[in-house]
């Protein structure tokens, strides 16, 4: 139906829209003035533990976090 229109440069380099959008948002957050910058960065902080399962049992979880390990 529609031919493949010229893809945006980030799509041509293998990046998805979500990755592009998140990179843009992070760059904007890093350019904010002080109280807003720390607010924005702390709001977007993530912390989660991922564990793979093998033979019905969870293996040791890997922690992915923006806060350094206490």
């Amino acid at each position: 139906m529609s031919s493949n229109a010229a893809a945006p440069f980030w799509r041509a380099a293998g990046m998805t829209y979500i990755t592009y959008s998140n990179i843009c948002a992070n760059l904007v957050r890093n350019c904010l003035k002080e109280p807003y910058k720390t607010e924005a960065i702390s709001r977007e902080r993530v912390h989660f533990a991922v564990s793979k399962w093998a033979e019905g049992k969870p293996e040791k979880p890997t922690i992915r976090s923006d806060t350094p390990e206490a």
């Binding site: 998140n22 843009c24 350019c31 904010l32 003035k33």
Partner: protein
Amino acid sequence: MLRRATTLLTRSTIPLRARPFSTDVAETAPADSTFSDAWKKVVPHIDPPRTPLTFMKPRPVTPSSIPTKLTVNFVLPYASELSAKEVDMVIIPASTGHMGVLPGHVATIAELKPGVMSVHEGADVTKYFVSSGFAFIHANSIADIIAVEAVPLDRVDASLVQKGLAEFTQKLNSASTDLEKAEAQIGVDVHSALNSALTG
């Protein structure tokens, strides 16, 4: 050859049973009458259960005359900046260029690029720098604008923007893989948009 011309000319151009398009949503959710009748026969004293369709608000009707104001819903993942606010115009930074949206604008879906969005209400103009997102303009003059990050321009630090621009221009020159080039290019685009937003 033209024996049937009169028949062909006088036949109705409207198809005999005009079928509605499947994408048209009914304006009021239809309540299933066969179900409610069967229910009432078995359990007359309890109301029939409501189905999910009856809970959904039907699509608002497109008014036949152009409304005087545009209703804007501007949302971010963590906050609802503007919620059903009636304004005169919004200028959105679409990837095809800055686009002014007035009441009665044709239904459009626009991908936004990093840039300034301005909301015009009478004599007030509120500007936000939008990192990226989408704008859905519906036929009934309701605009839904969604962005990942949007900040008023006075919260942006000019020196950090300059530093970022210099850093990414340098990264763009020294990038080797496609992905690095793309990331550096994104950095240059965002910082130059921030720069022109602050100076423009």
